[in-house]
Amino acid sequence: MAIGTLAPPLDAAAGAERSAERSRAWRKLVRNPAALAGAFVLLVVIAAAGFAPYVAPQDPTRQSLIRRFTPPIWAEGGTAAYPLGTDQVGRDILSRIIHGARVSLIVGVSAVVVSLLVGVTLGLLSGFLHGRVDTAIMTVVDVTLSFPQLLLALAFVAALGPSLLTIIVVLGLTGWERYTRVVRAEVLALREKDFIEAARAMGASPARLVLRHVLPNTFSSIIVMSTLQVAQAILQEAALSFLGVGTGSAYPTWGNMIALGRDFVSVAWWLPTFPGLAILLTVLAINLVGDRLRDALDPRIG
């Protein structure tokens, strides 16, 4: 009841406009072959990650010293049991890639979730509370941006010890600024339209403002940024593995497969190449989809 008379008409108008925008965007997206291909690849990856134990032909951690460095099936010495060959302790590469999809995606998505939680919250606080809080938060943003991101991640992981959780937290904490900026900008824009004052006068709670106005308007930017950040997180996990501070366990991630396999590239090229391809295709797909998504949601481009 306290919601008042002002909100519904604006809500309705804004809502209608947004859904029209979204269906236009969807149509633009679907028409683009690159984006479609990318989306398909992503579906495959997600499915592999989800159904890994059922899809993978072997146990990804099972070793077989006799079978180490078996080449892929089409090369001399390859067998059907190990279609993409085996690694330095005889584990099946294909199964490791399928299971690795799981960890890589978990790392990517979780890092983004952490970033979103931190970034959006700080953006909201910054915009609504303005004044000192705003300045403080924006300074923290500047500080975070000034750090060479990889060095920050390296220092944290080295300090806390390598583990999946640490990597997720660290990657999440080095990517939140972009969301803060966007959300804050949106809140400031609404403030400029005196929207917030008016709504508050009507008794609308901040929560409703956030849910009904701020977030929906930033939705498209956030979606695009998150998809790109997932790609970035997957690559960063690989970089951290290369520097020796990966997840530290025997469970495969694409990043640590490449990092650990790179020394053997001259005797067993399949070791780092296939996970490299996996990352390549996934990140490429994410970039293509995310890129077209950005184009599609941007009303400026004809």
């Binding site: 302790v89 080295a158 300090a159 806390l160 390598p162 020796g244 020394d263 067993a268």
Partner: protein, 508 residues
């Protein structure tokens, strides 16, 4: 428009100022070696890193040298004899020149020892020669070394104890000596050091052994193994070390390079935590030893470049007893012992390793342990802060760690037994883990006499005791594997040294 031009000019000037200097052509008289890094200083007394030692031995001489058969050979000392249990006499070589022209004498020898024994200088090598009480110059060609107790390792320690020029170091100061003007008596003299890039050395014409075959020696710092391998294949580098066993087949038959490999002291083991379950029970520790198929790992994962070890005392070290036999591979017995100890359904443990090059080995042996019922969670740590935390909590986070020990090239059982097992403070990690009744006493007995036969008997006793008690999963000793360009003739040494004086251009 003008502003852009100005900006462009400024940027170009800045760029030119940082332009890398073009390298000298890869001449036939230059030997290029790759290490993963440089030591923080060229001062041979102020670091204790293998990469530093490898550079130092080519620039500085010690009193005693080891030949390729690993026997003692006169170096700066031409002869030596014990005058008593705690006093040795060394006769010095005449007419040895330092790189700056000065002549080496007893004063320099005394000065070298004094600066390491001087605790205010904080030399990391202090612990190794702590037993030396005093060095006296009897005359310019004779010095006496006094130890506070009988010190059987004295000669061993003198093989790497570089002699530095007293006058020069006092003139330029310790800092400059280690960075811009290191001067020694070795086969090569210092030319330049570009940090993180290379150390350039030039043959010393007045070296007492004669001139080395190569006029120039360049030691590059290349941290990435794949890059080192690429360099040796393209001829950018002539020698690389620590070649992984898996790369050996390829490099052995490569048109540009060949492999030289030899057994060394470095022994591998998994030190087990005897303070807590399950490794507080001897049966479980022995079961772990029976569970590992060492031969298969050596053949399959190490290209055969390894030798099974019965205990942590290496075959090449004095005191080794060949009568003590390694644990056989017997998974059935392992399971029985496990059940006897009260773990019929197996047990879960965590093992730790910071040994990145041997990661596949670590994973393989974890698998073997799991197969007999000791379900292992293998954790790899990057050496650094996380490893440091592990050290600080006295290793309580894990049931055992995979380590290796090279004795710092001292071919004596004491050099592995004392640091690894003696419970007095100081020494290497894993000291917290081992609790064997009577072991301390035996180790002390063996190191406080110079009567070699008696020491040998004590060491036999110790090895039997250790084998029975199994404070570690005993593994193997490894080989040192070098990849060398076909243009160079050199062979790997059993003490892991790169004694490049012996390197020669290959006969055409």
């Amino acid at each position: 428009m003008k502003r852009w031009a100005l900006l462009a000019t400024v940027l170009s000037l800045v760029a030119l100022a940082t332009v890398p200097t073009p390298a000298r052509a890869q001449a036939k008289d230059t030997l290029t070696v790759a290490l993963v890094s440089h030591a923080p200083t060229l001062d041979p007394h102020m670091h204790f890193e293998r990469v530093g030692i490898l550079v130092n031995i080519n620039m500085f001489d010690s009193l005693i040298h080891r030949n390729t058969k690993l026997e003692f050979e006169p170096s700066l000392a031409t002869s030596w004899k014990p005058l008593s249990d705690t006093q040795w006499e060394f006769k010095l070589r005449k007419g040895v020149r330092f790189h700056n022209g000065e002549t080496m004498s007893g004063e320099d020898v005394k000065y070298s020892f004094d600066r390491v024994l001087d605790q205010t200088k904080k030399s990391p090598q202090y612990g190794n020669i702590r037993a030396i009480k005093d060095v006296r110059v009897v005359n310019p060609e004779t010095v006496h070394i006094f130890t506070d107790k009988p010190f059987p390792l004295l000669l061993e320690r003198l093989v790497f104890f570089p002699i530095v020029p007293k006058k020069h170091v006092e003139t330029v100061g310790d800092q400059a000596f280690g960075t811009t003007s290191p001067v020694g008596t070795g086969p090569w003299k210092f030319v330049e050091w570009k940090r993180d890039q290379f150390i350039r050395l030039e043959a010393f014409d007045q070296h007492w052994r004669g001139r080395p075959a190569f006029k120039h020696l360049v030691i590059r710092a290349i941290p990435e193994i794949a890059t080192q391998v690429a360099e040796i294949k393209t001829g950018g580098v002539d020698i690389i070390r620590n070649v992984s066993a898996d790369l050996v087949p390829e490099l052995k038959t490569h048109p540009q390079a060949y492999i030289s490999s030899t057994p060394i002291l470095r022994v591998h083991y998994v030190e087990l935590d005897m303070r807590s379950a399950p490794f507080d029970k001897k049966a479980v520790r022995q079961a772990a030893n029976y569970a590992i198929d060492k031969q298969t790992i050596i053949q399959k994962l190490m290209a055969g470049l390894g030798r099974q070890a019965a205990t942590t005392v290496q075959p090449m070290a004095f005191g080794f007893d060949p009568e003590v036999k390694p644990y056989a591979y017997d998974p059935k017995k392992a399971k029985e012992l496990l059940a006897q100890a009260g773990y019929p359904n197996g047990v879960d443990i965590t093992l730790h390793s910071a040994f990145i090059e041997f990661r596949p080995v670590f994973e393989a042996l974890s698998q073997m342990l799991t197969e007999v019922g000791i379900r292992t969670n293998p954790r790899m740590w990057d050496p650094g802060p996380a490893w440091n935390k592990f050290l600080q909590t006295e290793g309580k986070a894990t049931n055992g760690y995979y380590g290796s020990w090279g004795n710092y090239s001292v071919f004596d059982a004491d050099a592995v037994l004392h640091p690894l097992y003696h419970t007095e403070p100081g020494g290497w990690i894993g000291k917290w883990y081992t609790r064997i009744e009577g072991l301390d006493r035996l180790i002390d007995e063996a190191r406080s006499t110079v009567d070699q036969p008696r020491r040998k008997r004590t060491y036999s006793q110790i090895q039997q005791m250790i084998r029975e008690e199994a404070p570690a999963i005993f593994l193997w000793t490894q080989f040192d594997t070098l990849a060398i360009s076909k243009k160079v003739q050199y062979a790997a040494r059993g003490d892991e040294w790169l004694w490049l004086f012996d390197a020669k251009p290959a006969a055409r």
